[in-house]
Amino acid sequence: MKIALCVKQVPDTNDIKWTENNTLQREGVESILNPFDAYAAEFALDIKDKLKNTEITVFTMGPNQAQDMLRKLLALGCDNAVLISDRKFAGADTYATGKTIAQAIKTLLPDFDLIICGQFAVDGDTAQTGPCIASFLDIAQVTYVKELVNIDNKSIEVTRELDDGTERVKVTYPVLLCKLQDDFEPSRPLINGIKEALKKEIRICDLNCLGLEPENVGLKGSPTYVSKAFRNISNHNAQKYELSTEESVKLLDEKIKSVEVKNA
């Protein structure tokens, strides 16, 4: 069983700082493994526990510093790691990112059975890269995956948590899964140990290695672009009252009534 685990390093969205000009401050913001990808990794490692001869190859696209994150995943029990990195990949939207990662998987792990991604990345929150990868590889996809029900060497059975309920599906390989959060924190010991993980080679894969043209990757290869970015500022006129309970009740009543009157 060969698994491609796709992960992303993201800025910690709980640690966002703004400059005086209301632009995002990039320096000094900590980078973390996208929280949804931690659950994707847990899911892949669960499969490795269940099925013998499972090999997990982690793929990430990003700058050199993402190696630290890959080392940690190797220490958790993943077998190989690939860093897809080239300055020409910068500025990629979900289309170009999906195309680049799909090409890396096609090149380095052509006989994969499963691709596992996190459902969302907390920075962009598009939920698009997974399905884009599946589309470029023309394989089946199962999104919003919650639990592993059954797995063997031919197929996998999982539950999906959707808007209107829970669906149970079975699919034969090859397939791409997008994993939701679990109801518990991922808490695996570093079984391979940091020391072992440091010894492993991280494969660096650039534009040449993928055989893609510069105009097909990064900002150039992206159909979408950001024309404007601005801070989300509320248009509600914040008024705060510190009153006695009686006065608070009166104020609350007045405000509710004013809405009721408008509707009448």
């Binding site: 996809q141 999104t143 149970r168 608070s248």
Partner: protein, 334 residues
Amino acid sequence: MPNGENSGILIYAQLTRENYIHTVFFELLDKSKELASKLGGVEINAVIFTTPNLINEFRESFQNMGLDKVYCFENDLFKNYSTEYYSKLIVNLVNYIKPEIFLIGATTQGRDLAPRISSALHTGLTADCTGLDINEKGLLAATRPTFGGELMATILCKTYPQMATVRPGVFRVNSVYDKKDTEFIFPQYSFEGLEDRVKILDFRNSVDSIINELDSAEIIVAGGMGLKNEQGFALLKDFAKSIGATVGATRAAVEAGLAPSSIQIGQTGKTVRPKLYIACGISGAIQHIVGMENSEHIIAINNDKNAPIFEIADTGIVGDFFEIIPKYLETKGE
């Protein structure tokens, strides 16, 4: 600049499992009318997948909504959504009819489908937009929150169709009725080369009613961790009942088991925009705020005067929910 080859707006008309047209379709349709008029009155078309026995019903449903054409794929296989079939048939349709804009509801189904289609069409897709407009060059300007809602980005697309998904509840529906002769078209298609290897084994409904009451509520009272326990939520329900409001909750309250996930409001829950939103014991994490900040009037009751919710509440009441609400109910009971 518009390329002259692509024209009109296409909307994906998602059906619920009970075969109702999903509310997000009407919201997209309403917005499309505004966009179409800014584009000089281009066509607005819809695409739908259904089983043959429901065709006549839908033919009627889609009349007088202001649509020009409805492209209908009918087959018994379309009883359940299929990523493979739906995406590939839509890709063929789009290549044939060449719309300039293609909108899809950001439901779990829409977010599964849309990137599949956009990749195959080699075009751009902007996810989960909160604003859509036509810019001075006639292009779709899609605005969406990123970085957990802290940053807004307006995104343009260099290719056609310009695709976007929009969450249910983001746009208002002013009126569904709009007299127009709508043409019903059954595109020719074949399943050649298509194989759906995803088999649906079963489905468990988690929504109490078909239509979530939060979507249409004029007043919502929502509770967060400041309500502490079940008693707090019981009090919230009494309060809601007394003013004819619908109850909502934060993600933290849902995760603590105080409220069901179907009433969760925020980034990973529902987006609501009632006339009045009363936030009780809600600190105001950005992930919650993005789901309710478009409410017309926001009242916040919280005993922490530094809670971020007060930055966006029109009326911020610093005080104890467990004192103010019982007193309010007592006054109303007289």
